[in-house]
């Protein structure tokens, strides 16, 4: 694994409340690298999250809001925070009681290191 990718994943994994992170090739919808809990399929997560991010980016563009920077999905058991980095998207899986402001900031910063 490239040091840049590993560093970004490690940086994000150390943020309180982040229970997993992965970097995905957006075009292919496959994980470049992943650190997720047992029982979570990184392949399935990468495919679906990349499709979601890509579609949302297009919607943002169509709405005249320009390029998508981060995407936040809130669910019953937690959150998914995504940040784009060129052809890659960085995904953080977050506990529902985490400090989301910090997670979003760290996800954006980690994504910037991938550019």
């Amino acid at each position: 694994m490239s040091d840049v990718y590993r560093d970004a994943i490690e940086r994000l994994s150390h943020v309180p409340g982040v229970r997993g992170a992965l970097i995905v090739d957006m075009g292919a919808g496959v994980p470049v690298t992943a650190e997720v809990e047992t029982g979570i399929s990184p392949d399935a997560l990468a495919a679906l999250a990349a499709a979601l991010y890509e579609r949302t980016a297009r919607a943002s563009d169509a709405a005249g809001f320009g390029a998508l920077s981060t995407f936040h999905l809130e669910a019953e058991g937690g959150h998914v925070v995504m940040a784009g980095a060129g052809d890659l998207v960085l995904i953080a899986l977050v506990d529902d009681d985490a400090q989301l402001g910090r997670v979003r900031l760290e996800t954006q910063r980690a994504a910037e290191t991938l550019q």
Partner: protein, 164 residues
């Protein structure tokens, strides 16, 4: 596969293949037996295209398996061709009856990850179909054309076919 089994198999595969295409956002999908029988398709409008793709898919499957043997790779999970506009995914669908070959053509509305994900789900669905739980019967090369024609007649009814 026996000719008498074909209508049941074709009927059983129709919905799972359509669900796969819908979920994966693929453009074209075709499911053929190893001998080239067309079992299900989505996205083709011409019998001629289906016939060619079915034949080439069966040939590509056979040659890639031979390549895997020669290189001691065991067997390929899937083949992927990344084109500028369209991409092709070719994989074996293992069923209790016999292995089938799935060929999927997709563009940037989908992705390799999505196709893989829903291919895995399609594999599980198809493996559980009661119509595919019968014994295995080998198809020899001599019956290839007959099987191919029989499959095409199921997929494209005579009145819906184009002149080729």
């Amino acid at each position: 596969m026996k000719h008498t089994e074909l209508p049941h198999v074709v009927r059983a595969l129709r919905d799972p293949l359509h669900a796969f295409v819908h979920e994966s956002r693929a453009r074209i999908a075709i499911l053929v037996s190893r001998s080239g029988q067309v079992l299900a398709q989505h996205g083709f409008t011409s019998t001629y295209e289906v016939m060619n793709v079915a034949s080439l898919a069966a040939a590509a499957h056979a040659s890639s398996n031979m390549l895997a043997d020669l290189t001691h790779a065991g067997h390929w999970k899937h083949l992927f061709h990344d084109g500028a506009e369209r991409k092709m995914f070719l994989a074996t669908l293992v069923t209790p009856l016999e292995p089938f070959v799935l060929v999927v053509i997709f563009d940037r509305q989908s992705s390799l990850g999505l196709v893989q994900l829903f291919f895995d789900r399609l594999s599980k669905t198809v493996a559980r179909l009661p119509e595919l739980q019968r014994g295995v019967e080998r198809t020899d090369l001599a019956s290839f054309e007959k099987d191919l024609q029989a499959g095409l007649e199921r997929i494209f009814p005579v009145d819906a076919r184009e002149e080729v």
